[in-house]
């Protein structure tokens, strides 16, 4: 049943497969992000309470939820690397960490820039904000571990363990607004299937969310291919690819 999956454990097959997908993801990213951003900035209605500061929502929510999504994907990769010792899983986890860190940073910065006019403060040590900050530190620690060892297998093992231990933080971030009394508001988009938003705000949100998700895919694919080359640099097929590209 899972036999079709086997060739993708081969780095050469995966390198070419990702390379064929990348141009399509590039185009889709451009289309969705362009529509989403123009719609969010110029055409979506202003919020009746928050006015035009609500336009930060179209950056903040996708970035924050992708920062957790990337971590979940990285945790799955870390688990498969530890259990089945898939070298490609290590490479993909190493590719995901910097992308996740940047999206966490974006979520924190846009959150601060939204908090200042709405709450009157850039930062407050409430549960949601603090746990998201811990997520950033986890990402930075994982990146540091991936780069701390000359032996990439050892580095992958250390980073995988930290990733799995740190995954406890993901449900904490997600449910922090329900478990504790936070200044941060509860979920707007997914209130058990029925979003509490009007459609003229939901549509631009969907476009920007899908656009950012595609951008994450593009960035991870680029870094993943680099990781594959770096980790297989002694193989003849890697030399052939690099030399033929250089010509």
């Amino acid at each position: 049943m899972w036999k079709w999956l086997h060739p993708y454990a081969n780095p050469e097959v995966t390198y070419h497969f990702v390379g064929r997908l990348l141009p399509w993801f590039n185009r889709l990213t451009l289309v969705f992000l362009l529509i989403g951003m123009v719609w969010a900035l110029g055409f979506a209605p202003a919020d009746y309470q928050q006015g035009d500061s609500f336009r930060i929502f179209y950056l903040h929510v996708p970035a924050a939820s992708l920062s957790m999504g990337i971590y979940a994907a990285m945790a799955i990769a870390a688990l498969s690397s530890l259990v089945w010792q898939l070298k490609l899983a290590d490479a993909s986890a190493a590719a995901m960490a910097p992308v996740g860190a940047v999206f966490t940073a974006i979520a924190l910065v846009t959150g601060a820039a939204w908090g200042k006019p709405m709450w009157g403060t850039w930062w407050i040590w409430d549960a949601r904000l603090t746990s998201e900050l811990i997520l950033l530190f986890l990402y930075l620690g994982i990146i540091a571990l991936h780069n701390a060892f000359e032996d990439k297998n050892l580095a992958g093992k250390a980073a995988s363990i930290l990733t799995l231990v740190g995954s406890i933080n993901i449900p904490i971030i997600k449910y922090s607004v329900e478990w504790w009394n936070t200044l941060h508001q509860g979920s707007t988009v997914s209130k058990m299937g029925k979003p509490s938003m009007t459609l003229d705000m939901l549509w631009p949100f969907m476009f920007s969310f899908i656009g950012f998700a595609l951008l994450v895919t593009v960035l991870i694919c680029i870094r993943f291919r680099t990781e594959i080359l770096a980790r297989n640099s002694m193989r003849p097929w890697v030399k052939n690819i690099v030399l033929s590209e250089a010509k």
């Binding site: 110029g42 035009d52 500061s53 940047v102 974006i106 006019p117 680029i222």
Partner: protein, 79 residues
């Protein structure tokens, strides 16, 4: 369009600074990540190429060294 003029668009109903700060920082961080990823890809490929060239040079040198020796000469010296 929600705004009557370009200056109203920039002003964002008084929240211009915060909205453009968010969009600016997001664009900047994503651009840095994108170009850094591309640069790292180039660097890794350059390293592979330069190592390949070094190996090629060593192989050439070894070959020339062998050719400059007389027939069976090196064996005799060793024994």
């Amino acid at each position: 369009m929600q705004f009557d003029s370009f200056s109203a668009f920039l002003d964002m109903g008084g929240y211009g600074f915060y909205v453009w700060l968010s969009y600016g920082v997001t664009t900047l961080l994503l651009a840095i990540l994108y170009f850094a990823s591309k640069a790292r890809d180039n660097k890794v490929k350059q390293q592979i190429i330069s190592r390949q060239k070094r190996e090629e040079k060593l192989r050439q040198a070894a070959k020339q060294h062998k050719e400059s020796q007389p027939e069976n000469g090196s064996n005799e010296v060793l024994s």
